[in-house]
């Protein structure tokens, strides 16, 4: 118990208390400066009629699912490729390249991408123009801004997924693959029937972690597009932040934050339940 107390104290202080605080705040109308007014469930009623909230959840879900799919799918592909035969130094270069964006500040990364993706002055459109194609409005059109966010956020976070996948791949005993080879299994069959099932706990871990982090997207849309145009690339966390610290509506912001918490708990639970059907342990 003594060993647990430091983490228990920090858990209570920084998780339990803020959660309770948000729960309490959601029942109040409070602008930080005046005395709060108890409004019961009014803030939750407002959730049902907030059209912007629906739009923002729509854009967040679109971006989050795409980022999740890329991180889990493309991340796996790249991790497997990195584990194929190649000079050690080259493998180091690739690993460093993929991991580097993950350790850099999200805001700094987004600022650089903002310059790269600028419609009229950006490097990306310069090269697109060299191919004879029209400039793409990466950061200005409702169709392209979510895609830009997906590209940047995936590029930023995929290194973590690759790292975890590599650890998972290395934990699979070679004997299984060798046995499959003896049985005449080809590369795809070995991957499909040996590697992937044994990697399933890693996949579940990454699905859960990436789902949570993708729904908490903030810095990339904030810096790249300010959530726009309109709400086309606005994330739900941005909406919570703006409601709390732009509109000074702490009560409603707390209610919105709780919807995200409930959504993520629900999704995580669902993922664990569904995973029983495809999860394999060695």
């Amino acid at each position: 118990m003594g060993f647990l107390s430091p983490s228990a104290v920090s858990f209570v202080l920084f998780v339990v208390v803020p959660t309770v605080g948000v729960l309490v705040l959601s029942l109040f109308q409070w602008n930080l400066l005046s005395a709060g007014r108890f409004v019961g469930l009014d803030n939750f009623e407002r959730l049902l009629t907030d059209q912007r909230l629906r739009n923002v959840y729509g854009s967040t879900t679109y971006m989050a699912l795409a980022i999740l799919a890329i991180n889990v799918g493309v991340g796996l592909l790249l991790a497997v490729l990195l584990e194929t035969r190649m000079p050690r130094w080259l493998r180091g270069v690739f690993r460093l390249s993929y991991l580097f964006p993950f350790v850099v500040s999200a805001s700094a990364v987004a600022l650089i991408w903002r310059f790269l993706l600028n419609k009229d002055f950006g490097v990306v459109n310069f090269w697109i123009s060299q191919l004879g194609l029209d400039r793409t409005d990466w950061l200005g059109s409702s169709a392209w801004t979510p895609i830009s966010i997906i590209i940047v956020a995936s590029w930023k976070t995929m290194g973590f997924s690759i790292l975890v996948y590599i650890a998972g791949l290395r934990a699979i005993p070679n004997e299984y693959r060798e046995a499959a080879v003896v049985d005449g299994a080809g590369a795809w069959a070995r991957f499909r029937h040996v590697t992937l099932p044994l990697l399933s706990p890693t996949v579940l871990f990454l699905v859960v972690i990436n789902t949570i982090s993708a729904f908490q997207l903030f810095a990339e849309p904030r810096v790249l597009t300010q959530g726009g145009p309109g709400d086309a690339s606005r994330s739900i966390v941005e909406y919570v932040y703006d409601t709390a610290f732009q509109s000074f509506d702490l009560g409603y912001a707390s209610a919105v934050a709780l919807t995200l918490m409930v959504l993520l708990i629900g999704l995580t639970t669902l993922q664990f339940v569904v995973s029983r059907r495809w999860m394999h342990y060695t």
Partner: protein
């Protein structure tokens, strides 16, 4: 028990706010504003400065000042003011509290969080945009009584353009004496004008003339069929250097006379936004970008003109780029200066309001104001409030050559009134920008977009 629960709930609220704020508060580039930013007196200024207070009695006590920590210069400037004041008044201790924020709105939010957490500074650096927010929440002490009892205040007020004090007025009171300010002017690249064979613009240019000029400056320099050099652009992340000068010169405003209602769908606003949208549609202007990106585009010759206050000067000159000048915005139906100020407001939590007033007065003293001019290679990012000081700027060899237009604009022309900043300024500005994004991206027609904006602003301003 009830008290214990209340304390617990309050603690929970503060911790959750802090966690929320910390989680969300990324380091976006600070957005400049209509207002000024604190001046940094030279190291020797403090020892040379005369007594700050009108009273001959030595001052004593302590002051804590909250300021917007927009970058390293903010800390330097505010500490210098604190040090200067303490050097003049050895019995006084001044501490400064940095408050983060991605823009003025973020700063006010964090300032409110600071106050809600129980830390109550005596003074807070503030801009015209935040005056109603502070006043309506009962946070700011009007300075009328101090001005009335200060014999030197009359001369000081005469040396300040009325519009600057007006931008700090609330319900007939003056909430603070600003110590710096900015008005919106057009920056132009002199080389690009010369290359195009165009004369440099004059103050009497009109919207039509402006448009013709901007079109002539728009070029495909490498012959690939795509524009590489645009005539004009404006920022996507602020309304003061964005649409407001155009709205003002169309003889409109975004709010009504007592800032109690929005007027975003008025004919003047429609006219201004339609004009700007036309520049994009005709390829004369790119889609609006954040101000930081515009600085880069202007310095590299990709944009010939843009709008801003004095603050871009420091960036350009620090980078060795001096081939530019300024001109007033072109005249539409009328000409109105769009100006905003900044200064050190006395908060109602101040333990010694007289001491706080002495410090506020010190920030408008000639030595601090003189320091605000800066140097030819490092001009300050706002204009001195005192006219007598600002008038020395061009004579001191500090670019731009047309620098007299900064103060001349607010002295010689009517200012946009009322100052279009409702109490919920941050939400209001974000809402305007959100709708303009859709309009300028061509995804919503101007009239429909402004009608939707009007509807939303009505809710925000009416709250």
């Amino acid at each position: 028990m009830k008290r214990a629960i209340a304390v617990l709930v309050r603690y929970a609220a503060i911790v959750s706010l802090t966690v929320m704020s910390a989680a969300c508060g990324t380091a976006a580039s600070p957005a400049p504003s209509s207002a000024g930013q604190p001046s940094t007196p030279p190291a020797s200024a403090a020892s040379q400065a005369p007594a700050a207070s009108a009273s001959s009695a030595p001052l004593a006590g302590s002051l804590n000042i909250a300021y917007w920590d927009y970058g390293p210069a903010a800390e330097t400037g505010n500490k210098a003011i604190a040090d200067g004041f303490m050097a003049k008044n050895p019995g006084v201790t001044v501490t400064v509290t940095p408050v983060a924020g991605e823009n003025w709105g973020g700063y006010y939010a964090n300032l409110a969080t600071l106050i809600a957490s129980g830390k109550k500074p005596d003074m807070a650096f503030t801009a015209s945009e935040g005056i109603k927010f502070l006043a309506q929440n009962g946070l700011v002490v009007p300075v009328n009584k101090f001005l009335d009892s200060d014999p030197s205040a009359v001369a000081m007020k005469d040396d300040i353009a009325p519009a600057l004090l007006q931008s700090f007025a609330y319900a007939g009171d003056i909430t603070a004496i600003p110590n710096g300010w900015n008005d919106m002017v057009v920056y132009y690249n002199k080389k690009l004008f010369a290359d195009a064979g165009l004369p440099e613009p004059t103050a009497d240019w009109t919207w039509d003339k402006f448009r013709t000029t901007a079109k002539a400056l728009t070029k495909d320099t490498n012959g690939d069929g795509k524009t590489d050099q645009y005539g004009f652009t404006w920022t996507s992340n602020e309304i003061f250097p964005g649409i407001l000068p155009w709205v003002a010169n169309a003889d409109g405003n975004l709010v009504n006379d007592d800032v109690s209602a929005a007027t975003a769908d008025s004919p003047a606003v429609v006219e201004a936004v339609t004009f700007l949208k036309g520049l994009i549609d005709d390829g004369i202007a790119p889609a609006p970008n954040p101000m930081g990106d515009i600085f880069t585009a202007f310095q590299t010759g990709k944009v010939a003109m843009f709008g801003g206050g004095r603050w871009p000067s420091a960036t350009f000159l620090a980078n060795g780029f001096a081939d530019w000048d300024i001109q007033l915005y072109p005249t539409g139906k009328t000409y109105k200066t769009v100006a905003g100020a900044a200064g050190y407001a006395i908060l109602t939590s101040a333990a010694d309001q007289n001491l706080a007033w002495a410090l506020q007065r010190y920030t408008v003293s000639p030595e601090i104001q003189d320091a605000q001019i800066g140097t030819a290679t490092a001009p300050r990012d706002s204009i001195p409030t005192l006219r007598s000081t600002a008038d020395k700027t061009v004579a001191a060899g500090i670019p731009p050559a047309h620098g007299d237009l900064f103060y001349g604009s607010v002295d010689d022309h009517p200012a946009l009134t009322p100052f279009p900043a409702p109490a919920k300024y941050s939400e209001y500005e974000a809402t305007v920008l959100r709708h303009l994004q859709l309009i300028f991206a061509g995804e919503t027609p101007v009239d429909q977009g402004l009608a939707a904006l009007q509807q939303e602003l009505t809710t925000i301003i009416g709250k």
